[in-house]
């Protein structure tokens, strides 16, 4: 591509930044399409259904009693900010899927939120230590505007895949576009391949 007249890069670039991303520093922008819900942990649940041997549902206390797991690393939003060196704590999606036992035909999941938000992911992107249901950020309870009490975390993909206010996973044998994916965004969303929009 042709250089923009007068534009120069600002020194060295952090190798943790995927192409087209910048380091947002201490900020953590909130980008949601709807009113921020207030969800009580007294009635909160997380479910796994669809193509599984054993449909499962956990309450807040039950999911927090599962073996916990942390993620330390970076997150990348499609709106071009990245947040480097952050930590989350929750449960690995491997742990909850192991309880539900996906059928051999399973290839994708549709993550759902208590608000009705959805996002689609290949099963391979939420297994083998790549995805979590998290309730802590930097040792503190996850704030409501960032998806609290709990959100999905799939940090190797653009952050709209990390559904806020997550309510469950529907295991499927095909891919089906979720909310942003129906509104022009990519079905997979790998930041290192810049899979931002449909057709990328």
């Amino acid at each position: 591509m042709k250089p923009t007249r007068g534009f120069h890069s600002r020194g060295t670039r952090d190798p943790r930044l995927p192409p087209g991303q910048y380091d947002v520093g201490r900020d953590w922008p909130v980008l949601t399409a709807e009113a921020t819900p207030t969800l009580s942990t007294a009635t909160w649940t997380f479910s796994i259904g669809g193509l599984v041997e054993q449909p499962m549902k956990w309450t807040w206390d039950e999911i927090r009693a599962l073996p916990d797991s942390t993620y330390a690393g970076d997150i990348h939003c499609v709106t071009t900010w990245s947040k480097l060196g952050v930590s989350f704590r929750g449960v690995s999606v491997d742990t909850v899927l192991a309880a539900a036992r996906p059928l051999a035909s399973a290839s994708h999941v549709l993550a759902t939120s208590h608000t009705g938000y959805t996002t689609n992911l290949p099963l391979a992107d939420v297994t083998a230590g790549k995805a979590w249901v998290v309730w802590e950020f930097e040792g503190e309870p996850l704030a409501r505007e960032h998806g609290g009490p709990a959100r999905l975390l799939v940090p190797h993909l653009y952050f709209w895949k990390s559904a806020k206010w997550v309510s469950g996973l529907q295991v499927m044998d095909h891919d089906e576009p979720g909310f942003w994916e129906q509104n022009g965004y990519h079905d997979r969303g790998d930041p290192w391949l810049e899979e931002r929009y449909q057709g990328d």
Partner: protein, 255 residues
């Protein structure tokens, strides 16, 4: 899919999962020539761009703008289209200059008419108004930009009755599109300082600022900072507008 994606815990939001894609994929990166630059406020300019490959767009959609350095480094940011769709090959992007803004400060300080920039779009199928239903538009600060495209579209269609815009801004010096907002009968709320003789005292949006009656078929579009978006959403909820009728676009503190 209906039951499985339904909201639970009694929370019913505007998020609707429809069948299939709602908008075509955005086009490829294309060249855009700057044909006009207008100052809106001390820190804000509108850039009118002539597109090499224009595409139909919806009021509320945005474009990504990309700058490329000689060493191949790129910086991109998303900007809402401020102009109403008019079938022409030009769009307007209104850009606030942020102090540490790598892209916005370059656009403000370096770009002149005749320069070529790179853009990609239009993007977004959610925060859009198609001009076929009543819309209540609540914009805070720079959040007025996509709502301006909607208001301009309503007037262009001769349906000013469909779109009602309320703009919240700190002071008269911070107001974008000042003359046009008055002409298009938008409501302006000043939160810190009003012009002299202004009837409404400075203060944040309250239910008293909303129209006396908001029809069941009205969709509310809220755009602004996270703080404004939360406050405006709460105001709408307390005025009886249901979650399922509120669409939000938040401008995070992106640089």
């Amino acid at each position: 899919m209906g039951t499985m994606t339904a909201a639970t815990l009694g929370w019913k939001s505007a998020i609707r999962v429809t069948e299939g894609r709602t908008v075509p994929p955005p086009g490829k990166w294309q060249s855009a020539r700057v044909v006009q630059i207008r100052r809106e406020t001390a820190t804000t300019k509108t850039f009118r761009l002539e597109l090499a490959a224009p595409a139909d767009y919806l009021a509320g959609q945005h474009y990504v703008l990309r700058l490329t350095a000689p060493d191949g480094y790129t910086a991109s940011r998303s900007y809402s289209v401020a102009s109403a769709p008019d079938g022409s090959n030009e769009i307007e992007l209104t850009v606030e200059r942020l102090p540490e803004g790598e892209v916005s400060s370059f656009l403000h300080d370096e770009v002149v008419v005749g320069d070529d920039l790179e853009v990609r779009g239009p993007i977004g199928g959610w925060f859009v108004w198609r001009g076929d239903e009543p819309a209540l538009l609540l914009g805070g600060g720079s959040g007025v930009v996509p709502l301006m495209a909607m208001l301009r579209l309503a007037h262009r269609m001769g349906r000013a009755d469909l779109a009602h815009l309320i703009v919240s801004t700190r002071s008269p010096e911070d107001l974008y599109y000042a003359a046009e907002l008055t002409q298009l009968q938008a409501e302006i709320l000043y939160t810190r300082r009003t012009p002299e003789g202004w009837l409404r005292p400075a203060g944040r949006l309250t239910t008293a600022d909303l129209p006396a009656s908001i029809g069941e078929e009205t969709t509310a579009f809220v755009c602004g900072s996270s703080g404004f978006s939360d406050a405006a959403t709460e105001t709408l909820l307390s005025a009886g507008v249901g979650n399922e009728r509120i669409r939000v676009e938040r401008f995070g503190p992106t640089r």
